[in-house]
Every structure is written in C-alpha cells, then in structure tokens.
Amino acid sequence: MAMEYSEKVMEHFAHPHNVGVIEDADGVGEVGNAKCGDIMRMYLKIGEGEVIEDVKFQTFGCASAIATSSIATDMIKGQPLNEALKLTNKAVVEALDGLPAVKIHCSVLAEQAVKAAVADYYKRKGLPYDHPCDACGEEGCCGHSHGQEEE
C-alpha cells in the first residue's frame, strides 16, 4: 500500500531548509546506520549566550528522513542550547503534520542528531553533557522502537 506523506513533509523534502556543511562548526553529530538506510549529520555554530547561530544538515535517507532533518534545524535555529535540547521527536512529528507509523523512527533520528551535535559541542568545550537520548543513549541506533510507540 502506498504511504501518504503530509503536504508539509513533501514541502520540506522537495525544498529542504538548512542543507549543507558548516566548515568551522562548533559541534557535529552523526546518527543512524547506512545499512538500515538512514544517516543524519548535523552541524552547529554556537554564538554568544550558547545560542545556536547557525545549523546545517546532511541526510542519507528517505523523504521523511530529509523532511524531519529540515524541520528540526528550523526548530532549533536561533534557540539557546538548553531549549534546543528540549526538542522531542513528537514535536518534530507534530510540526510536520504527522508521519506514517513506519516513519516515526526518522523523527527519533532527528532528535538524536540534534542531541549528538550538542553533545559534541559540550565535549569539545570540556563541559559535562547529561542529556542522552533516554531510550538509546547518544549513539544513533536503527530499528529501535522507542519512537514508534508514540504515534
């Protein structure tokens, strides 16, 4: 059966925001697994007051993986780090007007990618980081189900 994507998903897939690389990024996070067909890489530029000045992403994956990356970068751009860390996969799904059930893991990956990039920033600064993804730690994992129960 064909899957239905919302208009919002298709819009972000067709014209994703914040695609690219930040050469002098302050934090870079990569989650997912090519074997499973999804990898997200997120770059952060952190400004004064720990505000996310710029964010870019690269994603290997399906339409919803690209769309969740795009909207997640929109949602955290200009936000202070502690706000960005509050981003949940559920908020990403809602912002996209929903995702097909089998694609919920893409939103989990987007949340993880943000957290992995922030964790990398803290690591580079030598600061403690205590916000791992509850279900699966900092590392992206594939096929886990903690996002799938939420929709």
Binding site: M3, M10, F13, A14, P16, V19, G20, V21, E30, A34, K35, C36, G37, D38, I39, M40, R41, F57, Q58, T59, F60, G61, C62, A63, A65, I66, V102, C142, G143
Partner: protein
C-alpha cells in the same frame, strides 16, 4: 513532461482490451454456465478467450485455467505440485533466491508442512546455473519452480534448459512468467514447461485476472470448490469482462511482439548506456539475458525512496527496492541475493518500459535522473564519507 516508467508494477490498459471488455459490461451479461441464449453467448466468448490465450502460449485450450491474478496461479501450481509429490513420497522442491513473494511465501508455508526447499543462488548477474540445479536434484524432488523473467532486475532465466533437465529427471517444472508473457516469446511446448503463471495487467489487460497453464497430463486437483467453472477446478462465475480483455491484450501483444521487443529494448539500452555514465552507478542483472523493458540501477550514496519521490515530482513514475519503499527494514531480497551490500541496495531504482513509452521520454529520464542523483548526493553524509576515499567525480 509526464513519463510512466513503472510497467513492471502495472501497465495502462490497451484500447484493444477496453474494446473487448465493453460488450461484456453491456449486452454480454450472461452467465456462461446458463443453458439459454444469453448464457451460450457468454460461453462462446469465454471459449474464444481461452483459445486465444492457449494459442499465444502454444498450449491447448483445456490446459488454460483463468484465475484472479498471477499470485493465485503461483499458489495453485506450487501447492498442487507439492501435493502430487507428497502422494508419491517426494517432498523436496527446488527454487531460487529471487522469486516473487507469491512463490517464496507459498514455499515457506510448504516448509512448515514438512517439505524441504532448496533455494538456488543466483550469483552476481541474477542467473540460476544449470549445473547447480542439476546438483540440487534429488530422488525425492517433486518440483522445480524458477521464474521466467525477474520483476526487479529483468533477468531471463534459461527456462528451456531448466525444463529439459526436469523432463529428463521426471520432475515437474513450474515457472512464474508474470513478467514474461506478452513481452518475450513463451512456448510451453518448446520451453518444456509443465505449469506456468501469468497475469493480465502486466500486458495491458485490466487488474484482477490471470491464468494458470497446466499440462493436460497433470492431474490437477480443485483449487476452489463449488462450481463447474474452469473444468470444475476453480469454482466461481468467470470474470468475463476481464477475461475477454486479457485475451485481447495478449493477442495484440503476441501479434506485435517482434516490433515491440525491438522498440522497447532500444529504449532500455539507451537508458542503460545513459545511466551508466552517472558516477558510482551500477546496472543490476545480466547484461545479455534481460527482459526488454526492465532497467535496474543502484546509485551509491543515496537512498531509493527519496530518489523515487524526487523523480515523481519531476513527473517520472518509477520504483525502488529500498527498505523505505517496501515498508520493512531490509532492502529487496532480489538485490541482496546479487550480493549487494545493504547500503548500496538501498539506493536502487527500477525503470520499466512498455511499447507506449517513447525515445523522447527516455531522453527526459536521462536528463532528470543524473540531476536528482547529484542533488541527493550533495546532501548525503554517506557520499561525503565516500569523498574522503576518492576524488570527487563531480569536480569540474
């Protein structure tokens, strides 16, 4: 521009099929089992359709059983061959790794019932090797089932040789010819085929109708009880409109087979040559033994669903064997059976052509696919990592 290049999924109905179908949706409403004039009228039409289908396959009309689809024909043929085998104390079946799920899932069910199944490997080019089939044959082998043309990569198996070997060993041979009938010459006699499945909507007939060819010497048991239709073996009033349309579509396909094959394979070869120019791309399947209309490629560093949907936005209908398009975590079993790693199989694209496609459409595909692949690679971290180990092929 709009291009429909997903003909292995389904085809547009032909004018001939629609024209054959219309009377059956109007005046020709009788039940072929009725004795009165309306019934006889429908029965004559049904007989004509059966003769036409039989003729295209070089079979006898009484060897043709109309079914609801190709999947049904596969289920019926395989479970029947297994039942007959078990009666003779033979419970071993040989098939291969790239069959359609209609075959594979039926075999899985038989395995649970105590049959043992050998799945032949297909190697890098997607072909079954005769010597491996020969080595796999056992005294208790009751059935060999190998598809005629693969739906994903288009490989044409050595059907005639497989059939000859099976004849020699007294083993039944079934072939899922859903992607072959109407596209390449199929002759059940010359090709040594005992049972064959076909599906109408793959050659411009409507959905909802297929057929099983079963050699008359095989004592086929009833598949659906409760009626005298299909020689009592598949009860249920015949889908006359769909059956008449399928016969007309098949007659037309067979009458124009040579010119269609020439036109379609010329387009296929142009597509393969053009797509091969994309860096880090590979064409899947055997270069020589290939159905006229099926082109399968993998593009490293990108994922198939996004490729498919970007092409859709550009007006091109195609398909992919990526996990995301199948709704499972694994990419297509066919691509994995070729030995492709998961990450490469995820980046697959299938374009399947029919005689309704044009060279202009092929040119449009060849203009769009490289651009979409490049765009997706530019946003792919996998491609980024690949560039650490090779020179950027897109560097001017």
């Amino acid at each position: 521009m709009f291009v429909y290049a997903d003909n292995a999924a389904t085809t547009a109905m032909s004018r001939a099929a629609a024209d054959a179908m219309l009377p059956a949706m109007g005046e020709l409403y009788g039940n072929p089992s009725s004795l009165h004039q309306k019934g006889r009228e429908a029965n004559y039409a049904l007989m004509g359709a059966r003769e036409a289908v039989a003729k295209c396959l070089h079979a006898e009309p009484r060897e043709i059983y109309f079914t609801g689809c190709g999947t049904e024909a596969d289920n019926w043929a395989i479970t029947e061959a297994a039942r007959l085998g078990a009666l003779a104390g033979k419970k071993h079946i040989i098939s291969d790794a790239i069959e359609h799920h209609a075959v594979l899932h039926t075999l899985k069910k038989l395995e649970k019932q105590g049959f043992s199944v050998t799945y032949l490997p297909v190697h890098e080019n997607g072909l079954v090797r005769l010597e491996e089939l020969e080595a796999a044959l056992r005294p208790d082998t009751c059935l060999v089932t190998v598809m005629f043309a693969n739906n994903e990569i288009g490989t044409l198996q050595p059907i005639r040789e497989i059939g000859a070997l099976c004849r020699e060993r007294g083993v039944l041979f079934h072939t899922d010819a859903v992607q072959a009938v109407g596209h390449v010459p199929v002759d059940v006699e010359a090709d040594n085929i005992d049972m064959l499945s076909l599906s109408g909507h793959k050659f411009h007939a409507p959905k909802g109708v297929g057929a099983l060819y079963c050699k008359k010497s095989i004592r086929l048991e009833n598949f659906i009880e409760g009626g005298a239709q299909e020689r009592g073996k598949r009860g249920g009033t015949e889908a006359i409109p769909a059956i008449l349309a399928m016969a007309a579509a098949l007659q037309e396909s067979c009458a124009h087979m040579e010119e269609n094959m020439a036109h379609i394979s010329a387009m296929r070869d142009k597509l393969i040559a053009g797509l091969s120019r994309i860096p880090n791309a590979r064409c899947n399947g055997d270069p020589d033994h290939r159905a006229p209309g099926i082109v399968s490629f993998c593009f490293e560093g990108i994922e198939g669903e996004s490729l498919l949907l970007r092409l859709d936005l550009a007006g091109i209908c195609a398909s992919s064997g990526s996990a995301c398009t199948s709704g499972s975590l694994d990419p297509s079993h066919v691509l994995l059976a070729l030995g492709l790693p998961h990450e490469i199989a995820h980046g697959s694209l299938r374009l399947s052509l029919s005689e309704y496609n044009t060279m202009e459409e092929v040119d449009y595909i060849l203009q769009q696919v490289p651009e979409v692949v490049r765009t997706l690679r530019q946003m792919s971290p996998v491609w980024l990592h690949m560039l650490e180990k090779m020179e950027d092929p897109y560097k001017e």
